[in-house]
Symmetry: C2
């Protein structure tokens, strides 16, 4: 079934789930579904260097029976500023303790832009609930993953929109905010997530194999190890 | 000269000016320039029903010698929800006093999305200053034009970005916030703005003539009249 065909037609509360194809957002989707939300997944084609994460998103949305799946094209790549969208070398083999500074893989204002677009989408389908898999613990130093940013965004969102002015209240759900990577993997595993579908690597091989050495791979590997769960990732 | 070629190479402070092609954003550009900023104009191709406002933006940026001009494509049209991006009838001949409710020309979260993208752009060129021509008085009932929204966005922007975490402070300048349409036109006229280049109409003729009857035309006409300045608009 194409991933953008509705598969759930329940009358439960609709939610938009931001999907990146990685293990965090996939777990956030599983949690939203476990809370009874009808989940509309939203992925962004933002000029990233490879398509593997968008392929992963489509597979995850289809396999987990999202109510709909949408890929929103927004080419922030030409603004430059990030190793994820330009040709700079992705850092490799960094120690986890060195990941607290903002790395060159930071994409300017990315979560702010993505949440703003998700909010517009939510408003047009009459949803007040957004899920995003940001995390304050293993967050690689990105400023737009912090609780203070999310809290401020919720306030802004309610002032920015018709929804927020006609008695509704927009809510941004961040179920992973205070979980370690290991706890996220444990939670998703309990909920039946198949992590072999998820893609975390910043610098995969042309066939999609994970490098195992970028910040994202290092956090993922370490998470599976700490969780005591077999890592199904295909490391190239 | 192509509008995206730099024309100013001064060392003054860079600013991003959001340009819609209308009289408000054009006046905001003139004010930013009068304050000594090197202005990089940013327009959005967001699936609007006509191209006249993008043509106006390019002409304004070129004529007013913006340091650069960029059109950012972001197709929020398919989300629907606004008469500006779908096929519904644009309201005509409304009384100004009826323009306080949110009209069907409201585009969900538009200013939030535009400011978020402008912020990413600012960050990549090392600018901390954004100008937007929002207005709390003749604002047609759009929630994302209010001072409370802008204040909240500034707070969010400083939490969302690297800029905001390394000692800089992002500022959103709203020089028109407390001006009437007549005062805006007077100010722009003092600064030498040629309003014949600007395009305000929501529903222009195919050749670009203004309808004279949509909310935007009504506010514009009334502004010129109150300012006692000849309206150079080509009403179809």
């Amino acid at each position: 079934m194409p991933p953008d065909m509705p598969t759930h037609t329940t009358s439960s509360k609709p939610a938009i789930v931001l999907l990146s194809g990685g293990l965090d957002s996939t777990t956030a989707l599983a949690i939203a579904q476990s809370q009874g939300y009808t989940c509309h997944t939203l992925a962004f084609d933002y000029g990233q260097r490879h398509r593997h994460e968008l392929d992963a998103c489509a597979q995850i949305a289809s396999s987990m029976r999202a109510a709909s799946h949408r890929i929103f094209p927004i080419n922030i790549g030409p603004f430059g500023g990030s190793a994820l969208t330009d040709t700079r070398e992705i850092p490799k083999d960094r120690d986890e303790s060195a990941m607290t500074n903002i790395p060159i893989t930071y994409v300017p204002a990315r979560n702010l832009i993505f949440l703003s677009i998700a909010l517009a989408y939510a408003e047009t389908i009459g949803s007040t609930d957004l899920f995003i898999g940001v995390n304050a613990i293993d967050y690689s130093g990105y400023p737009d993953c912090r609780p203070a940013f999310i809290a401020s965004f919720i306030h802004t969102a309610n002032l920015a929109t018709k929804l927020g002015t006609d008695g509704h209240k927009v809510e941004i759900h961040t179920p992973l905010m205070n979980m370690t990577k290991a706890q996220i993997i444990q939670k998703g595993t309990e909920l039946g997530v198949d992590y072999s579908m998820t893609h975390s690597c910043y610098d995969p091989s042309p066939a999609g194999g994970a490098c195992g050495r970028c910040d994202s791979c290092i956090l993922r590997r370490s998470g599976f190890k700490q969780a005591g769960i077999d890592d199904p990732t295909n490391y190239a």
